[in-house]
């Protein structure tokens, strides 16, 4: 039986405490209702649990977490998945700024738009490859300093049909990982030295795998998502600062 909690009267700290206490007792499934700006939910929790959230979680949802699978029915504020390690966050809405900052593993699936500075400095190591999929559009600095992992930007479910799919400085300082974009992007929107490339066979396989799971999460048709061509952005060098110095 999942533990159901009406969190509206509680401070975030109390909510996390209740979750941790019940975790110790062996509870593996939680349903949080009435979430309204509660910060740091599940921050630093290291356990394979399922959490369903109704409402709007506040800053740093799932920061540093390792393992939980969080499904949010609502939008989330800034910093979701900050430096997260493993697990998954599925957001049936929009997300704010700095989603997935320095994330090193796990997945974040967002149905709608995201704000600025999303996916900055994501990194991969060995079998850990973080994946961030955005169903809507993104603001400036998407994937800045990216060192590893995968960002997929679909631009499909957006509140801002008039805006370009991403803002400026996409992938600035990128030195690892890959960003896939559904549709086109102007070169002037990209960070210095970056170029869009067409996908090759291995990209398509990877992309399909990631998108299949994404579509299952939101009940979408994969064929619909794949209707349009994707491009990819990869670093032009793995050593952007290799030749910067005089000794």
């Amino acid at each position: 039986m999942p533990l159901e909690l009406e969190v509206f009267p509680f401070h975030y700290s109390q909510v996390n405490k209740i979750i941790r206490e019940n975790l110790k007792k062996g509870e593996r499934e939680f349903i949080l209702r009435g979430v309204n700006g509660h910060r740091y939910l599940l921050a630093g929790v290291s356990a394979d649990i399922k959490v369903t959230i109704y409402g709007t979680p506040g800053l740093d949802l799932g920061a540093f977490m390792r393992g939980p699978v969080i499904r949010v029915f609502g939008n989330v504020q800034d910093g979701a998945g900050n430096t997260m390690d493993e697990g998954k966050i599925v957001i049936h809405g929009m997300a704010g700024d700095v989603v997935g900052y320095a994330m090193r593993g796990g997945k974040i699936h967002i149905y709608g738009d995201v704000g600025y500075r999303v996916g900055i400095h994501m990194k991969a190591y060995m079998e850990k490859i973080p994946v961030l999929i955005i169903g809507g559009k993104a603001g400036d600095f998407l994937g800045e300093y990216m060192a590893g992992g995968v960002i997929i930007l679909l631009g499909m479910h957006t509140l801002y049909p008039e805006r370009p799919i991403a803002g400026l400085f996409l992938g600035t300082g990128m030195h690892g990982g890959v960003i896939y974009i559904r549709g086109k992007i102007k070169e002037s929107q990209l960070g210095l030295g970056l170029k869009p490339y067409p996908l090759d066979g291995s990209d398509e396989k990877l992309l399909e795998g990631y998108l299949k799971e994404y579509c299952e999460d939101f009940g979408l048709e994969l064929s619909e998502v794949l209707k349009e061509d994707f491009i990819k952005i990869i670093p032009y060098t793995h050593r952007p600062y290799g030749k910067l110095y005089a000794y």
């Binding site: 630093g44 740093d60 430096t83 500075r117 030195h175």
Partner: protein, 507 residues
């Protein structure tokens, strides 16, 4: 024709070989990681490439017959007060390579060193000094926020605190080891620091390179760092130590991030940093989740929440112009300790212009921050940890009298393990086995040696501090904190004295 390289023409150092002593054992060849000593196998003799020598004195120290002398290259440029060889040679390097000048350690320019213009007090006649050998002398320091007031209740005839105190970190001396990442320095030095910290009852700091698996056992004496690159940062790491330090800036390079070049990311380093072997480890200039004091508060509490409020959170900044106001914001953001790293703070690698020209001296920064926090009535809510150019125990005493709770030492600890200040740590070829992860070079400094030297240094300093306190007639370091009456200025201006809140000698 290849373009001439001006910088190679005029070496900094001169390798003098005393041929009457040299036995051609070739020890110098194997000791020099810069290949400045060359064995000519045809002529069966030794040659020198002076241009490669960085002046680390390793060969000189290990030459069995003492046949080597490393000196400044005697070849001079015509004297000019403005265009000294330093500037000429830097221009040559940049004209040759067209890059940013890189260097190591702390600020090398002779800005006024305020510690050297402050003298300490001692008791004479009217109040007796205390002999630390006879009476207990307390250096124990508690790091972290202190309550505004204490409420005491009586239960069954016994007095006790009504409310539990917030967690504090107890250290047996106000000297901690500054953040130096595994990657910048060798694992052996980290092991030495960790062990010394444990045996001395103090703390060492992992720096931003993650924590090697072998060091988790030193948790109670560990500060883990959270820098913008977030390397090797995961739940176990956050929970490993007693405090988490958010690194915003560093005295040697305020306003820029860090960069561990791919060459230094070896197999072991890659495991700890959790990045692929050979890839550059870039720490962006800002944390991109912190653009304001409110954001900083966001991260402080994210870390506290993630570690269930069991860890203290420190925030480290470089001492810059507005350091007092920034520190005030940091305290209000909830930092349990503010770490201020001054102009002279060291580094494994920094652009020379940054190292030498940005930031303010730590002495002024400590005083300004302490004064500001007192004026705002929030001094008790945080500890001030000062670093950057602490060279001896008298510097520690002066820093504390100016308002610090404790100091960090970095360079001093490295000198204790044999560093000769050649200022070339960024090459990763440290011939003394300190700032390197080359397995062969690392062997030159085994962890036991590192431990012993560091332990001895701090033991010596703590003894000296006790004696200085005793001479002043105080028996606990707590009574020295911010006690500027124990300081007098020699040769400082009115303005400087105002900032430091000290009187001039004779006053």
């Amino acid at each position: 024709m290849a373009t001439p390289q001006w910088s190679k023409f005029f070496p900094d150092f001169y390798i003098e070989r005393l041929w009457d002593k040299c036995i051609k054992c070739r020890r110098c060849v194997s000791e020099c990681s810069y290949e400045a000593h060359i064995w000519d196998s045809k002529k069966k003799t030794l040659l020198e490439d002076h241009s490669k020598c960085v002046g680390c004195h390793r060969c000189e120290a290990f030459c069995p017959t003492k046949a080597l002398i490393i000196k400044r290259h005697p070849s001079d440029f015509r004297e000019h007060a403005l265009w000294t060889p330093w500037f000429i040679k830097n221009i040559y390097k940049q004209a040759d390579q067209g890059g940013v000048l890189l260097t190591s350690t702390g600020c090398a320019l002779p800005y006024k060193n305020y510690f050297d213009h402050l003298v300490l007090d001692a008791c004479q006649v009217t109040n007796p000094p205390i002999d630390p050998l006879r009476e207990p002398m307390e250096l124990r320091t508690y790091i972290g926020p202190k309550p505004e007031s204490l409420e005491i209740e009586e239960v069954n005839g016994k007095f006790r605190l009504k409310k539990k105190l917030p967690p504090l970190i107890r250290v047996e001396a106000p000297i901690l080891f500054a953040a130096m990442s595994y990657g910048a320095i060798s694992l052996h030095v980290h092991q030495g620091l960790a062990r010394a910290a444990r045996d001395l009852g103090i703390l060492y700091n992992t720096g931003e390179g993650g924590l090697h698996a072998s060091l988790y056992e030193y948790g109670p004496n560990t500060i883990v760092q959270c820098a913008s690159g977030r390397f090797g940062l995961h739940v176990d790491y956050l929970n490993a130590g007693v405090a988490i330090e958010i690194k915003i800036g560093q005295g040697a390079k305020p306003g820029i991030g860090g960069h561990l070049p791919g060459e230094k990311v070896t197999e072991e380093i890659s495991k700890t940093r959790m990045i692929p072997v050979g890839s550059d480890a870039l720490s962006p200039a800002p944390h991109h989740d912190i653009y304001s004091i409110e954001d900083l508060r966001g991260l402080i509490f994210a870390l506290k929440e993630a570690t269930e409020y069991k860890k203290l959170v420190f925030v480290k900044i470089a001492a810059v112009h507005n350091v007092a106001a920034i520190a005030s914001g940091i305290v209000r953001a909830g930092a349990d300790a503010v770490v201020i790293d001054g102009l002279k703070g060291g580094t494994g690698a920094a652009p020379t212009m940054f190292r030498d020209n940005i930031g303010i001296p730590i002495e002024l920064a400590i005083s300004a921050v302490d004064k500001r926090l007192r004026a705002e009535g929030i001094r008790h809510r945080t500890s001030i940890i000062a670093s950057g150019g602490i060279r001896c125990s008298a510097d520690v005493v002066k820093a504390i009298a100016l308002g610090a709770d404790a100091v960090y030492i970095g360079t001093a600890a490295l000198i204790a393990v044999g560093c000769t200040m050649c200022q070339r740590c960024f090459t990763g070829k440290c011939p003394w086995g300190i700032a390197t992860n080359n397995p062969e070079l690392m062997k030159r400094l085994p962890p036991e040696v590192a431990y012993e030297k560091i332990y001895n240094l701090v033991k010596g300093w703590t003894h000296e501090i006790k004696e200085m306190l005793g001479a002043m007639g105080i028996n606990s370091i707590e009574s020295l904190k911010g006690n500027r009456d124990k300081l007098r200025a020699v040769g400082l201006t009115k303005e400087e004295m105002e900032i430091l809140e000290v009187k001039h000698a004779g006053e």
